[in-house]
Amino acid sequence: MSEPGSVIRPYGDTTGDGMVQVSFTLPVPHTKHAEGAAAQLAAKMGIDPALVVHAKAMGPAFTFFVVYGRVNHLVELDRVRIVERDHPLLSPKEANLAIRKGLRRRLAVVGGCIGSDAHTVGIDAILNIKGFAGEKGLEYYRELRVVNLGAQLSVPELVTRAQQERADAVLVSQVVTQREAHLVNTKEMSAAFREAYPAGRVPLLIVGGPRFDESMAGELGVDRVFSRGTTPGEVASYLVDALVTRRPGRVVAPTSTEGNP
């Protein structure tokens, strides 16, 4: 799709026009000077010309702006960083088969929402039979033994249960992101596992949630991060690849590639 060096621009109504829409609030009263300030910010974002098409006072100290204009940046398609799936997408059938063949035992998967987060719909979408987007959840896979620990789970609790269940993989969901709660909790979690397990024996750590950046696995100390719109099949396929295809137990770093998908 994108041959090396190929660049594109945003599209308003003509190829290459580079048009974008922006809105933001500045903590200043609504004056002509404030509109100039909005234009300055737009300019710093690379918008030129920038049209401040709307400015509205919100109380005495804040002003809301809508800006339209042409952004002068180029999108370099061959420099796009995304976390690739470097393994096949398996059907439940294929996944079960691979596990039975490769492992001769069921995989134990433990999952839940840690910290004060009570948003279980996401993890349930991955784990429960009901599933998500038409795909059955992991509980549906004969060769997966799924333990769903639910919400507002403390990290120590999670670690203990993982040990009891002799978990091959631990799936954690974090939906609340205010004050980076999701990052803080995830780091605490991965640290706790490294502490509780002998090096190299740590179960596969997977974290997910709508506001995660999938390329952050390294930073967070987990093996893989899943974000918005993940489907159970994607998770199952990854589990098989990481725990069966590659040496079981081995911690796999996410392959973050440059370039074409």
């Binding site: 599209y11 308003g12 109504d13 003509t14 190829t15 048009m19 829409q21 049209l51 401040v52 098409v53 709307h54 400015a55 509205k56 809508v66 339209y68």
Partner: protein, 531 residues
């Protein structure tokens, strides 16, 4: 539009006095009659050029001046146009001045032909030759109309009403085409290609495919052909005939109407007074051109869209609500007189009440229902908020949603989709996609709300509708009180607050009072269609 005319029948009825309704129509007829007579007594350069186009003359010279202009100007120089150009032109051909119209125009352009008015048998011969040529043109239009009907049967029609009407306006026909196809795929039933600003003031129709319009794309025969072909391709894929709209209004109404018929456009913006009020085109010129162009539309099976929305962009939508109704009544009269059927009357109105006005939404409902009920069999064209749209695109998106809701609740026939960037730019691809999503939500979620919508006979909505109707009657009476009726009313700023005297405005010099021996086979053949 058969589907539609049934759908709206079960719409909540306002309690209107049938006598008042009849009275309003009668007054409109009385105001319109003299204008029709005026139109019958005059011709214009554009009417004559349209006639030559029907007779098969097309193309332009090196400077891009169309041959029809060259030829008509030459004839005008020699004999004037008051007799019509047909007699002099076919007389010249008969005299061997040239092998065909194209060659004749070329010679005329360099002044190597002189035109004279044939008499007696020569005149008879010229007239019948001209009639033969023009008839061929009308036949082409007839066959395009049959073709449309065939394709609608073959591919299927719009799934429901209102028809979803989307605008493209890049200025470049080659950007317009993919955008129009994308819009059609996304759900548009009708695509309108906005014209480049100011084309309505050109006294000729540009030639060929064009790529450099301002805020719109030039209306040319080739652009019509290209876009219609692009939409045919998409229609076939979608199994749904997607209609194409352009603009007739302006100094070339008769010609553009003719080209639309020849290229199977499906709708045309054609208002009896828009050119006068919003483009300062001479009233007589406009009325003459307007009548001829509507006769052509009638023949071509094209649905016209009138421009009442424009009034509300300069006048207040509450105070001037009745001017919209009066204009609709006049447009209806002129249209029917020109031979258009009810299903061809896309009478315009718009959601332009200041959203900060208390009960504004219910006022919009009242106005929309009034139009719906006054013209039960016309595919009303419901147009979105524009002047009260601002740079606050979120608010704009919301307003468009409530505009869509009125459309759904009042059984409008054609819904011009509003764009959240109305106050900012000509629509972006994404604006159109978001706008269609908005329409889809409202139609799908609230499409049947009209079943539960029952304005009480003397409630706010019915009362408002009756008031607007009453004011319309007063206004029509006021118009008739003027010495020269409508012409004077237009002169003193009755519509859209613009004053347009009958002897002012652009294009007056292109008007001529028909001589007794005026001959125009096109007019004659088209009159057949008229009332």
């Amino acid at each position: 539009m058969s589907t539609r005319s049934t759908t709206h029948r079960n719409r909540p009825a306002l309690d209107l006095d049938p006598v008042a309704v009849r009275k309003a129509r009668t007054l409109a007829r009385r105001a319109g009659r003299p204008i029709v007579r005026l139109a019958q007594q005059h011709t214009t350069v554009s009417v004559e050029r349209a006639t030559l186009r029907l007779a098969g003359l097309s193309g332009a010279d090196a400077e891009g001046t169309p041959w029809v202009n060259r030829l008509v100007d030459a004839v005008r120089g020699d004999t004037g146009i008051e007799h019509g150009v047909c007699l002099p032109v076919w007389h010249a051909l008969a005299g061997g001045a040239a092998g065909d119209l194209g060659e004749l125009a070329a010679k005329a352009a360099v002044g190597s032909v002189r035109f004279t008015l044939p008499q007696g048998r020569a005149a008879v011969r010229a007239r019948s030759a001209a009639t033969k040529a023009v008839t061929a043109g009308l036949k082409r239009i007839d066959s395009r109309r049959c073709e449309r009907e065939r394709l609608v049967r073959k591919w299927g029609d719009a799934p429901r009403t209102p028809w979803i009407y989307l605008i493209v306006a890049t200025g470049d026909i080659y950007e317009d085409m993919p955008q129009a196809q994308a819009a059609a795929r996304a759900g548009a039933d009708v695509i309108a290609v906005i014209r480049s600003t100011g084309q309505s003031l050109l006294d000729f129709v540009p030639e060929g495919a064009t790529r450099e319009g301002f805020a719109g794309t030039y209306a040319t025969q080739e652009n019509f052909r290209l876009m219609r072909a692009a939409l045919d391709q998409t229609s076939a894929q979608l199994g749904r005939y997607v209609r194409l709209t352009n603009y007739a209004s302006g100094l070339c109404m008769p010609e553009i109407a003719t080209l639309a018929g020849l290229e199977r456009l499906d709708m045309m913006l054609n208002d009896s007074m828009y050119g006068i009020l919003f483009r300062d085109i001479n009233p007589v010129r406009t009325f003459v051109d307007q009548r001829f162009s509507r006769q052509v539309h009638a023949r071509a099976g094209i649905i016209i869209n009138t421009g009442e929305d424009n009034y509300l962009t300069t006048a207040d939508a509450v105070d001037a609500a009745h001017t919209v109704t009066v204009s609709q009544l006049l447009n209806e009269f002129f249209a029917k007189e020109a031979g258009l059927a009810d299903w061809q009357l896309g009478l315009g109105h718009a959601f332009e009440i200041n959203p900060d006005v208390e009960d504004s939404f219910r006022l919009e409902l009242a106005h929309a229902l009034l139009a719906r009920q006054l013209f039960p069999d016309a595919p009303l064209k419901w147009m979105p908020p524009t002047r009260h749209m601002t740079g606050d695109v979120f608010r704009g998106y919301l307003l468009d949603g409530f505009f869509n809701l009125v459309g759904a609740m009042t059984g409008q026939g054609i819904l011009l989709v509003g764009m959240m960037t109305e106050a900012v730019v000509t629509p972006w691809l994404s604006d159109r996609d978001l706008a269609l999503q908005n329409v889809r939500y409202v139609m799908n979620a609230c499409g049947n709300l009209h079943e539960d919508f029952r304005p009480t006979p003397d409630g706010f909505i019915s009362t408002r509708a009756r008031q607007v109707l009453a004011e319309s009657i007063e206004l029509l009476e006021a118009i008739l009180r003027h010495e020269r009726g409508l012409l004077d009313a237009i002169a003193d700023g009755t519509f859209g607050l613009m004053k347009r005297p009958a002897d002012g405005g652009r294009g007056l010099d292109g008007v001529a009072r028909r001589a007794d021996d005026y001959c125009n086979p096109a007019s004659e053949l088209l009159e057949a269609g008229s009332e």
